[in-house]
Amino acid sequence: MLSCYRVLDLTNERGFICGRALSDLGADVIKIERPGGDPARSIGPYYRDTVHPEKSLYWFAFNGNKRSITLDIERADGQEILKKLVKTADVLIESFEPGYMDTQGLGYSVLSQINPMMVMTSISSFGQKGPYREYKASEIVLWALSGMMYMVGDPDRPPLLSSYPHAYLFGAMQGAIGTVVALYQREMIGRAQQVDASALMSLAWATGPEVQATWELFRQIFKREGRMRLRTGTGVRTPILWRCKDGDVGFFMLLGVNFVKANAALVEWIESDGMDSGIMGNLDWKKVGWDEITEDVACQINAILTKFFSRHTKQELHEGAIKRGIQIVPALTAKETREFPQLAARGYWVEIEHPELETTVTYPGGFVKSTEMTCGIRRRAPLIGEHNEEIYKKELGLSAEELMVLKQSGII
C-alpha cells in the first residue's frame, strides 16, 4: 500500500514502531544508525540471553523489514550525506530530544528547502513545544503523567507500572497515522509538512472514558482497586480478573439488552455444573442494570462466580463460554497465545529466517489483512550498517574510495 514511499528512520526506541508499521504496509524504510550501531540494540531481552548488539529481541521486534545504514549526523560529511538522502525521501522520522535536529542544522526549515515534499515526523515524550519540552522521560514517567499508573494496582500499595515497557509505542503509532495523513495532503497542497507526535497525549487518551468522565461529570477521582472495578455511577464493584484452576480468566459482567442471552446462559451453565446459582437465578436480566444492584447482591454474585470459576481450568471456561456466547476469556500466556487456535487458523504467525543465527524466529503477523497486500514482517531486522554498500554505492553513487574514507574516519 505504501511501497512507493521511502522513509528515513532516525528514531530510537521512542519511535521504532512508527517506521516498522509503515514498512509493514510496504514502505521502504532505511534505519539510520550511528556508527557502531544504535544504542537501542542494548535493550533486552536477547537471543538466547546473549547480550550482543546483533541479538536484541527488542531490536528484532521493531526494526524488521528495515534496511540499515550507519551515519554520524553530527559531523559535516555525515550531514551532507543525510541531505543527499533527503532529496529522494518521502518521509523522515526522528525521535531525538526536541530541538536536536535544529542544533545539528538539520531542522525542518533546512530539510524542507532541500525537499519540500518530504514529511518530517517528530516523535517525542511530550511534544516539540510546551512546558515539558525539555523534560526527561522514561517509561515510568510517561505511565505516571498519562494517568495510566494511578489507576492500576492494589489500594494498599503504590500505583503500579507495567512490567512490559510499551508507553512509547502509543506516540510512535500516532506519528505513523499523522505521517500518512501528511502524505495524503501533500498531493493536494503541493508540499509536505511537520508531524509532532506526543507519547503523553497518545497515552493520556488511553485512560479512557470512565476515568475521564468520572471527573468531568461527578468531580470524582477513579481509584485503583486491584482486580475490582467500580461500576461507574454506582457503589458496587465487580472483578475484571478471576482466579480459576490454572490461572486467570477475564469476565467483566455487562448488563442490559445486549447481554440478556449471555447472562441467562451463564446461570444455566452454573446450574448444570451442579452449583446453586443463588441470587443470579432470581435476577431478571431483561430489566436489571448495575444501578439497581445493591452492594449485597453484587457481593453474592461475586461469590457465586468466584466459586464457579475456581472449579474449572482456563480452557474449560473458554470453551464453555464460546458455546454459550458468554465473554469469559483466558488470560493467555505467551505460550498459550502461540497455541491459540484462532490465530493459527488465520495463519497469523510468520517464520522469519535469521541466517546469522542459523535459525528461524516466529513473529506476530501483520496488523491487518488486506485484499491488496500482505501486511506484516517480510525480513529480519538489519545488521549494523548491513545496507551501507547497497545504499551508499548503488543508490547514492558514492565511490569505493569515498566509502573507504568515510568508514575510516568513523562517519559511517
Binding site: A21, P45, A61, G127, P131, E134, A137, S138, E139, I140, V141, A144, L145, Y150, V152, R157, P158, L161, S162, Y164, M173, Q174, I177, V181, Q185, I189, R191, V195, M201, S202, W205, A206, G208, P209, E210, V211, A213, W215, L217, F222, T232, G233, L241, D248, G250, F251, N258, V329, A334, R338, P341, Q342, L343, A345, R346, Y348, Y363, F367, V368, S370
Partner: protein, 405 residues
C-alpha cells in the same frame, strides 16, 4: 494551515462500541464527511453504558458514547431488517468512499452488504471491517468487548507485584491500541486509492493488531521460552525507580534514576543527606541491589513536598520524574493544556464536558476538528431528503413504515 486533508471523502460508519469509531475518527478529525448508521431498535452499546450525565440513564446521556464520538458525524437511524432500509443503505454506499463496520461477523453478509456486494455498487470502495478475532476462523463471530480482549491478549497480566496476582489496567485498554493500527491502515488505503484508483477490504482482527504491541514478549517466548516476569515497579537498570509518596492523600511522584550523573543530580536536589554518600548507593549495581532501603530513604524526602514540586525540582536538575496523575491532574496538566489536548464542548443532554480529544499528533498544515457527539437519528431528515434526495412524501411514508427506526 491549508484546509482539511480528507475534505470530500465520504465515510459510512456501520460501527458500534469503540474500535470502529476510534479508527474512523482519524478521517473525521481531518474533514471527512462521516454518516453514522444506527438503529433505535438496538442502540450502540456505548449509548447504554455508564457513566451517565447526572447518573440518569438515557441514550443521549452516556459519557461513553460522547467520549467515543468527539467529531462531526451525521447520525441517522436506519432499520436494516427492513428491505427498504437495505436499499437506502446501498444508495449511501454508492456515494461513499469508505464503509466501516464493526458488527458481529456475518451481519453485513446477511444484509447483502458484504465486500463483494459493495464492490458491485462502488468498484473502488474501501471497506474497513473490525472485530475481536477477525472475519475468518473459528472464533470470527464470537462476541467480545475491549474488556475481554484486554485479558485475552495478556495486557491485563502485565502489571503485577511479584507476590500478588496481576492487577488489570482499569480500562478496555485494547480498544485504544487496535485503532492505532486500524486508523493507519485506513489512511494508507485512502492514499493507495488516490494513487492507484483501487479500493480494498481491510480486516482488522483486534487481537492480531494488539499483539504487534507485544512482539518482544512473543519473541522472548519463541527464542528463550520465557514468559513475562512480574517486576512490580522495579527496573533492572535504574534505582531509585518508582512512584514515591508525596504530601497529601494518595499522592505520588514517579522518579527514575538511571545514570551516575542523574544520581549525583538527584542527590543535589534532595540536599545531599549523609546517607547518599553511603557505599551501598555508590554505584548503579549497588543502588539496584539495595533498592528497598533506598526507596524508603527517598520517600522520607518526597513526603515533605507536593508531587508537582518534586517533579519540577527533579526535572530542573535533569532527573526523569513525573506526577502520578489522577483524573483531575490530567485535565490540569500544563503540557496537555499547552497542546489544547482536552476540548470543552456543549451537548444538549450532556451539558458542557471537557473530555473531548483529538489525535495524539499535530500537523503543521492542517488543524483537526472536534465536534459535539451526534444525537441518535439527529440528521435523518438532512441525510435522507437533502443528501439522498428522498421526497418529503416518501420520507414521511417510509418513516411510518418503520424504515428509519
Amino acid at each position: 494551515m491549508q484546509g482539511s486533508p480528507f475534505e470530500g471523502i465520504k465515510v459510512l460508519e456501520f460501527c458500534w462500541a469503540g474500535v470502529g469509531p476510534f479508527s474512523l475518527n482519524n478521517l473525521a478529525y481531518y474533514g471527512a464527511e462521516v454518516i453514522k448508521i444506527e438503529t433505535a431498535l438496538r442502540p450502540d452499546i456505548t449509548r447504554t453504558g455508564a457513566p451517565y450525565k447526572d447518573n440518569i440513564p438515557g441514550l443521549e446521556r452516556s459519557a461513553y458514547f460522547a467520549w467515543t464520538h468527539p467529531v462531526k458525524k451525521y447520525d441517522i437511524t436506519l432499520n436494516l431488517n427492513h428491505p427498504r432500509g437495505i436499499e437506502i443503505a446501498k444508495r449511501l454506499v454508492a456515494r461513499a468512499d469508505v464503509v466501516g463496520e464493526s458488527f458481529t461477523t456475518g451481519k453485513m453478509e446477511k444484509f447483502g452488504l458484504s465486500y463483494e456486494d459493495l464492490k458491485k455498487i462502488k468498484a473502488d470502495i474501501i471497506m474497513f471491517r473490525t472485530c475481536a478475532h477477525g472475519k475468518t476462523g473459528p472464533l470470527s463471530a464470537q462476541p467480545s468487548t475491549g474488556f475481554s480482549l484486554t485479558t485475552l491478549s495478556g495486557f491485563n497480566s502485565m502489571c503485577s507485584w511479584p507476590d500478588r496476582p496481576s492487577s488489570p489496567v482499569s480500562a478496555p485498554y485494547t480498544d485504544f491500541i487496535a485503532p492505532l493500527f486500524g486508523g493507519l491502515a485506513l489512511v494508507a488505503a485512502l492514499d493507495y486509492r488516490r494513487r492507484t484508483g483501487k479500493g480494498q477490504c481491510i480486516d482488522l482482527s483486534q487481537h492480531e493488531a494488539v499483539m504487534n504491541f507485544a512482539t518482544p514478549i512473543m519473541l522472548d517466548y519463541d527464542v528463550n521460552q520465557r514468559e513475562l516476569t512480574s517486576m512490580g515497579n522495579q527496573c533492572a537498570y535504574a534505582a531509585p525507580h518508582g512512584p514515591y509518596r508525596c504530601k497529601g492523600e494518595d499522592r505520588w511522584c514517579a522518579i527514575a534514576v538511571f545514570t551516575d550523573g542523574e544520581w549525583d543530580r538527584f542527590c543535589n536536589v534532595i540536599g545531599n543527606p549523609a546517607w547518599t554518600k553511603d557505599q551501598k548507593f555508590g554505584t548503579l549495581l549497588s543502588r539496584v541491589k539495595n533498592r528497598h532501603e533506598l526507596d524508603a530513604l527517598v520517600e522520607e524526602w518526597t513526603i515533605n513536598f507536593n508531587t508537582e514540586e518534586v517533579m519540577v525540582m527533579m526535572q530542573a536538575a535533569g532527573v526523569p520524574a513525573g506526577v502520578v496523575s489522577n483524573a483531575q491532574d490530567l485535565f490540569e496538566d500544563p503540557q496537555l493544556r499547552h497542546y489544547h489536548h482536552f476540548h470543552e464542548l456543549d451537548h444538549p443532554a450532556m451539558g458542557t464536558c471537557g473530555f473531548y480529544q483529538g489525535p495524539g499528533f499535530r500537523l503543521s498544515e492542517a488543524d483537526y476538528e472536534v465536534n459535539r457527539p451526534p444525537l441518535l437519528g439527529e440528521h435523518n431528515e438532512y441525510v435522507y431528503t437533502k443528501i439522498l434526495g428522498i421526497s418529503d412524501d416518501d420520507f414521511v411514508k417510509w418513516m411510518q413504515d418503520g424504515v428509519f427506526e
